[in-house]
Amino acid sequence: MTTTPVKARLKTSAMIASFADPGQKTAPAPFGHALVRAAEENPAIVGLTADLGKYTDMHIFAKAFPERFFQMGMAEQLLLGAAAGMAQTGLVPFASTYSVFAARRAYDFLCLDAAEPNLNVNVVGGLPGLTTGYGPSHQATEDMAIFRGMPNLTIVDPCDSLDIEQAVPQLAASGGPTYLRLLRGNVPTVLDEYDYTFELGKAKVLRGGADVVFVSSGLMTMRALAAAKELAKHHVDVAVVHAPTIKPFDSETVLRELNTDRLAVTLENHSVVGGLFETVASAVVHSGINKRVVPIALPDEFLHAGALPTLHERYGLSVARIVEKVLGEL
């Protein structure tokens, strides 16, 4: 029997991985704390989860309001069906699970029980896009594609802790069903350095630039801002437009920015099919402007398991790969 210890490895496909850069400013569990604050104002707010409270920052709410927290077990169809039922009675449920299980397993329950009657059910999805190296069972690379087809549903893809904190009360106040692509744990704080506030349904220009315009959502806005700084070293001047509300989409702001002769690039933590790129593409075609748009997105494939930094590099989401792509296009 060999009992020799093996060498520990740095690269891991563990479920919980951080995408914060070393030394980056972060805030702990911004969703959980924002939900507690919103619930202090609004007694109708309740929290539900499907055996993932600890992993979606819902445990913060559960601790603050144990009597307004409902553990539904690992039963996602029950989670969203029951959330709809609670909304019928006038409550404002926030229901958390991983994005894959909300989008893939429980779609029908959200669609018919909450979206069709336009109820205030707020779905909070952990591990959106490629935020775990755990493999296709947990990588929600197509969650926005799935959800964009659902009438009435508002879809928010926040960039950082500030976005999340400001989005939560607006989602609660918005009336209809919503889907938030959750970033959990110690979440980077990035947008505080810009003149920015989150407004549901609005895209915002974070910085101007003469050569290239980035339209981005989610954590890719963080990468877009870092890439813009890198590209400046190559004498490329990049504007960044952050579009955290994917649906309803702020076509007006985005089209105004695209309708120039700058190179236009979309950046998203999602499949190239059915997410931000196609949302922008459809707005462009509808408007009649003649504009080429270059997508930076995940490929239309089942992705590998592996360490998150390895995979972001492999699939083109890293800052280095963005810079390389843009320089190649110019």
Binding site: M1, T2, T3, P5, V6, K7, A8, R9, K11, T12, S13, A14, M15, I16, T49, D51, L52, G53, K54, Y55, H59, Q71, M72, G73, M74, A75, Q77, L78, V100, F101, R104, R105, Y134, G135, P136, S137, H138, H304, A305, G306, A307, T310
Partner: protein
Amino acid sequence: MTTTTLTATAGTGAAERHRMVEDFAYRMRHHALNMGEVQGQGYVGQALGAADMFAAVYADQLVYRPEDPDWDGRDRFLLSTGHYAIGHYAALAQAGIVPIEELETYGSDDSRLPMSGMATYTPGMEISGGSLGHGLPIAIGTALGLRHQGSTSRVINFMSDGELDEGSTWEAAMGAHHHGLGNLTVLVDINALQADGKTDTVLRTEPVADKWAANGWHVQRVDGNDVGQLLAAFDAVAKEAEPDARPSVILCDTRVGRGVPLLEEREKAHFMRIDEHEWKICREQLTAGHEGATK
């Protein structure tokens, strides 16, 4: 191919059979600790807890050819609980399907042994089970498909107690009974634990045995860390359930971290934290326990 690896223990005496399974489980537990140390975290507690279940399957029950894991005549072992892959890899290594040296790549980039079990990555892995509650529906189809094509191969589905929360499990439970799947056996690892805490605080699933029985299954509940009980349960399946064309479930109460007192006594957690210096202690405790038991 002429050789068929029938169950390794076929034709051996009861004591020898028992000893072979225990030894298999003991070696598996060492593999699991080694894999856990590579990652410094993970599902070691589950792998140790379920090792006797895996060992009973691979050392005593399953028909397979280690050199040809896709052989048509094999029994099908489905790992529904994807995060238990660490336990399954330990069994696959001990069964000769995956090289033991390869275990140290567990969970690393470009490894054939990802943290969550995937059929496209690993020889001997029949399904990709990370989204929980898929194994049993697939097992129903596998059992139907094999029977339909005249195969006498068995299907064994391994699942966790957390998977009892999922509606898909109970849809499949009814389906298996309806279709008279005597060629299907399900093992449930009841470690009384899931992601947010103890099972009875997350979703009360008891009385579990009554639920399977009400769905028409042949039900047994055993101590899943007692090899004698596990083997007796499998024997009863062959004698009572299969001839009756009833699907069988063996409910296995197990102890997280089994075999390593340090971990058995630690507070139960879905992700068990083990400090760097503790791995050596774990290995020593495991070895000492085994030597004590086999003296």
